[in-house]
């Protein structure tokens, strides 16, 4: 059993490192320091995942205050898994950003960038690790504020309006969550998630709790950019600095997906949220629309980062679809896609960032003929692109397989077909870019473009190779996501048992919740 | 000397407000007083130290007199308010402040403003521009009664 204080490390390390990175002042120093700290946080995340997989849930009362009064940090397979993803991506993006921000952020703001990045990491880790609903809101805002700052650091002035819109929508989302949590507290008198789970179901069907649920679901949907509340994402990811887009696309929305999973499965109980409240169908429909709208929009953009941003909207649709199917395989598909999508989008955005580093533009015209001039970058883009399409031997295939399998288990034949059709759209928007890179001649101006520097290629290719490795050896992802979804379904069935004992009636014949 | 006086004053003020005497809280008090002093010091470097009004007995007498003025002029203005509208005959005038020492002019202007009915709109080197609700208020002011009282404070009896 590892020392429980370790559970606080994922938050403390980046939080303390953030001001130090600012004080260090010189870009090279704060870069080195930030990368080191992020690497350390990743190492801790690994330890935590191993510990949760072997010993189950880790609980740590912050400041010695026992839950449900004090704030409790609870780490189980689900959040340890996502934490691993977030800290890994953060480290790689930091490694990558040294050169990338040289061309995109003014020298004087470099330390600020690293500080904001570390704060964002601290916030995200906090959201994942905390077991207290209100504390979750606070960390959510910490990470969001850092995100708005990060987005606003880009040279292009459109990042400012994008950041502002992101701030407005993000704050509304977070405030909705605050209202929801408030309503839960109003009825149950507690904020500890587990305590909430038990007390919520003491009431047959309380309007306050259901309203709270509605507010939370909408608030989280804004945060994870589920269609139609995704308006803020495309401009933000398009106009943010490339390193920031890489980091956010792979982590920020994913953590929000985790929050939705946590609320649905651990606190409210999937059966209540999906069947009694009928949110299952709503999420399912929105997810499918998100898949098609996101993919379609991606095919018509000329700015490649905008293509990837819209593609993210679609990929989030896949995750939510997985969750809305309400079976273990579906949830597993959602959780695994969090991991897989982080690998894909991270690599893609890094590749685009490398193109920007050399070409100074991310328009599709800039990609012409890059197949020859930046072979390694474009190879990385191709492989990650294939992974988005879901070609076998890449992680994309694994996610797609589980998702369609989950749909078929619930014999939603139509949905299974729609998911496959959706992934074909990815062929179009990725194909378009590859055609530009490999079949179109570069115009004269960029004949002498060289390959991206090593420091950008290494993190990019680590992600690309991970895209392939975890597409073949799926043991880690399957085990982690598997035990996570088992656990989450265990929470749900505990709640179902609780309901039964409370009301002495048989649990209504819910959708057969196959563990 | 100036710094010591202020430190004591702020310390007392801090304790008055908090009412706690535990060492930890006193320490926090000391820290906040210190910070304020630092800022004050920096500000002092900005403009020279004006000779403060000395809080002697005559000052308190003046204050009580002023309160009396406030009460009477307030009553006067209130009557004006309750009477039919249009009875106010506002007037604007400049009154010389040459005879009042520089550092007491602020007190003089504030006193004018504090007593309802008269309002010091502007204060320059030679005049204070006064706006009054009723024209006679200005002439009353011009008689110099308040001016006299302010000058008494400085101990220079003409």
């Amino acid at each position: 059993m590892l020392d429980l204080h370790l559970t606080a490390f994922p938050i403390l390390l980046p939080l303390i490192a953030a001001p130090i990175a600012l004080i260090l002042g010189r870009s090279i120093l704060s870069w080195g320091f930030a990368t080191f700290v992020s690497g350390w946080a990743f190492f801790v995340a690994c330890q935590l995942l191993i510990a949760t997989l072997s010993d189950g849930v880790l609980s740590y009362a912050v400041g010695g205050w026992e839950p449900p009064w004090g704030i409790e940090l609870r780490i189980d397979a689900a959040n340890a898994f996502v934490l691993l993803v977030v800290s890994a991506i953060s480290t790689l993006v930091l490694l990558y950003s040294k050169l990338s921000i040289e061309k995109e952020i003014h020298e004087s703001k470099h330390s600020l960038y690293y500080t904001a990045h570390l704060l964002c990491l601290a916030g995200l880790s906090g959201i994942l690790v905390t077991g207290d609903a209100f504390n979750l809101f606070v960390f959510l805002e910490i990470s969001s504020l850092a995100t708005y700052t990060l987005v606003s650091l880009a040279p292009d002035r459109r990042c400012l309006t994008a950041a502002f819109r992101y701030l407005v929508m993000g704050t509304i989302g977070a405030t909705f969550i605050l209202i929801g949590v408030g309503m839960l507290y109003m009825k149950t008198g507690t904020l500890n998630m587990l305590d909430l789970a038990e007390r919520i179901h003491f009431y047959e069907s309380s309007r306050t709790i259901n309203t709270g649920l509605a507010f939370i679901m909408v608030g989280v949907s804004i945060k994870l950019a589920l269609f139609p509340l995704h308006m803020w994402l495309p401009p933000a990811y398009t106009h943010a600095p490339s390193a920031v887009s890489a980091f956010l696309a792979s982590t920020a929305t994913k953590v929000a997906v985790y929050v939705m999973i946590r609320f649905i499965f651990t606190i409210f109980g999937a059966d209540h949220v999906f069947n009694e409240m009928g949110m299952g169908t709503i999420l399912m429909v929105l997810a499918i629309v998100a898949i098609f709208k996101g993919s379609y929009m991606a095919t018509v953009q000329s700015n490649i980062k905008s293509v990837l941003a819209h593609s993210s909207v679609a990929q989030i649709g896949y995750m939510i679809l997985g969750i809305s199917l309400m079976n273990v395989t579906g949830l597993m598909a959602g959780l695994i896609h969090i991991f897989n999508h982080a690998l894909m989008k991270g690599a893609l955005f890094m590749a685009v960032g490398a193109v920007f580093y050399r070409m100074g533009s991310v328009d599709i015209k800039a990609f012409r003929g890059l197949g020859k001039q930046m072979p390694l970058t474009m190879a990385a883009f191709t492989i990650a692109g294939l992974s988005i399409i879901g070609v076998p031997l890449t992680v994309g295939f694994i996610s797609k397989w589980y998702l369609v399998m989950a749909a078929l288990e619930q014999n939603h034949w139509v949905i299974a077909a729609l998911v496959l059709a959706g992934s074909l759209l990815a062929v179009v928007y990725i194909g378009r870019i590859l055609e530009a890179a490999y079949f179109q001649e570069a115009d004269q101006s960029n004949k002498d473009i060289k390959e991206a520097p090593l420091l950008m290629l290494i993190p990019m290719w680590i992600l690309v190779l991970a895209n392939i490795y975890f597409g073949i050896d799926t043991s880690l992802t399957t085990e982690a996501a598997g035990s996570a979804s088992e656990l989450l379904f265990q929470n749900t069935s505990d709640i179902a048992v609780l309901i039964e004992s409370l009301h002495g009636i048989g649990v209504t014949s819910t959708q057969e919740v196959s563990p | 000397m100036h710094i010591a006086k202020w430190t004591v004053l702020l310390g007392v003020f801090w304790i008055l407000l908090s009412g706690y005497l535990e060492p930890l809280l006193l320490f926090f008090g000391a820290v906040s007083v210190l910070t304020v002093m630092l800022v004050l010091n920096r500000m002092d470097a900005v403009d020279e130290d004006p000779r403060g009004i000395n809080f002697n007995f005559s000052f308190f007498r003046y204050v009580f007199w002023l309160i009396g003025q406030i009460v009477s002029s307030s009553i006067h203005v209130t009557q004006l308010i309750w009477r039919k509208s249009g009875s106010a005959s506002p007037a604007l005038a400049k009154i010389s402040v040459d005879d009042i020492p520089k550092d007491h002019r602020v007190l003089y202007a504030n006193s004018i403003t504090l007593t309802p009915g008269t309002l010091s709109v502007d204060l320059d080197d030679h005049h204070v521009t006064v706006h009054a609700l009723q024209a006679p208020s200005i002439s009353k002011l011009a008689e110099g009664n308040m001016e006299h009282k302010v000058k008494e404070l400085t101990g220079e009896h003409k």
Binding site: - | S74, L80, A88, L114, G117, L119, D122, A135
Partner: protein, 111 residues
């Protein structure tokens, strides 16, 4: 001790009365500068009386000191605020009713 309550009530009610009349003056008076006078009524006499009334409620303890501080603070800052406001209005060219009606300015003493 009964007497103190009576006095305190009187002061409070008087303070309230002056406050209300000042507020009414705010609406009745024709131009900005006259309204400043109405406002200063509430700032000065009304504040004096109300705080005075409250002072009588305290038994000479910390609260008394706090009330005194509030009173002193208000007495110093409200005239300054009114002055600053009037000055700013004047500087930006807002004509007082007196000037705009071309009335002879009040008798200005010795130059």
């Amino acid at each position: 001790m009964f007497i103190i309550d009576i006095i305190s009530s009187i002061l409070l009610l008087a303070g309230a009365f002056f406050g209300l009349s000042g507020a009414i003056g705010l609406f009745k008076f024709p131009d900005f500068f006259t309204r400043v006078h109405a406002a200063s009524v509430t700032d000065s006499i009304s504040a004096l009386l109300i705080v005075g009334g409250l002072l009588l409620q305290t038994s000479f303890d910390l609260n008394t000191a706090k009330l005194m501080f509030i009173l002193i603070f208000l007495m110093i800052t409200s005239p300054t605020a009114s002055h600053a406001l009037a000055k700013s209005a004047r500087h930006s060219g807002l004509l007082a009713l007196a000037e705009s009606k071309g009335k002879p300015q009040g008798k200005s003493t010795n130059g």
